[in-house]
Symmetry: C3
Subunit: 159 residues, 3 copies
């Protein structure tokens, strides 16, 4: 099975239909692709134009809910990456880095587990091309009140 | 009009004279240029050696003031980028990513609007070469009490 | 003296024996090396599998202790970098960027001095190859309760 077919099959098995990439919430691009690299802007847990949840982990947002938020960020990253290679997954060489931010109360220290919601989906869907380096930190607050934000960097081949 | 002339004209129209790049406040370089990329260190809203403002957004710093801080960070990024290409803007291919940090109270969720103060200036001054990917987050505090910090990554041609 | 011998001598003079790179605390890789770049995951101040300290700077963690944490993060970055070039420091061209995160109370604004604990060690051990761009910010909390986290990006030659 080709890489593209494998990725399509795994997305389908996860019940994921990649959305149109979310419109940036301010003055920037969803991604910039140049010199064989794709910088994906920080993705929020937006679905159909709305955040799936708002609030701080450790306050109104449970760990289980935050994990789903991270997964939604990853779905949006995959949507942006797909757009960056015009739907041709063969061109995606590797997701090399994720940067994960968790909005939490100061006593919450489980950021790695939360950001796994993004890492695990990307690793599962993209296979070897999805294993990545990562930084995960806890922040005071995120845009629009999102509990999680994840950015990504990938390597691609020229079209 | 050449790219360099256009950029000079737009800086002038904005009333901006690029400063000497601010001296790093600790043990690092203002930028590293290598392999066609320029990593610009996190810039604070320094002007003439002092922060234009200190404090947290949502507390003592208004959104309008924070926007001006982000703009000042962008002016400093432009100053560093100009130094990295020895003043020859033709060599700047693209600002590919901005990372924006807003020091705020936990209830503040307007980070995207604040960091637009940097994104809009860079997009306006650099035109197509200034459209970028971005991550914007809210943090507990920033160096020296700055309300905003912005780092950048750009692609350049060899000298 | 070769670059590798110089680096080995400086590590030895600092009394540093590079550890086996710490195992990631979640679903990611310690590093990804591709296209001549190495993305090093955010390193915590782990030593022999445990954090050397936990807590917030400005609360239970002193500046001196946080500096030691940043230094430990840098030791772990050096361990990961060494692994990425299979121990051959000649292949390391440059550490181009560090991203430093300090978990602190909102009134703490001395992040640059803390992250110098990482920058100074990397600059000292690697010499010209260790001078880097940097972003340092204060965050609400970090994984496992660590006071400091530092990620890195380096350029290397092919094996």
């Amino acid at each position: 099975m080709s890489t593209s077919d494998s990725i399509a099959a795994r997305l389908s098995a996860e019940g994921i239909v990649l959305p149109v990439p979310p419109t940036p919430v301010a003055s920037y691009q969803p991604y910039v692709a140049m010199n064989g690299m794709v910088w994906v802007s920080g993705q929020l847990p937006l679905r159909d134009g709305s955040l799936v949840m708002t609030g701080l982990v450790g306050d109104t947002v449970s760990e289980a809910d935050a994990l789903l938020c991270a997964r939604q960020c990853a779905i949006n990253i995959l949507a942006v990456l797909s757009a960056s290679v015009a739907g041709d997954w063969e061109r995606l060489l590797r997701v090399v880095r994720l940067g994960g931010f968790v909005a939490s109360t100061p006593d919450f220290v489980g950021q790695p587990k939360i950001i796994n919601g993004a890492s695990d989906l990307i690793g599962h869907v993209l296979g070897d091309r999805g294993t990545h380096a990562r930084a995960a930190v806890g922040v005071a607050s995120l845009p629009l009140g999102a509990p999680v934000e994840v950015e990504a960097l990938a390597l691609i081949t020229a079209s």
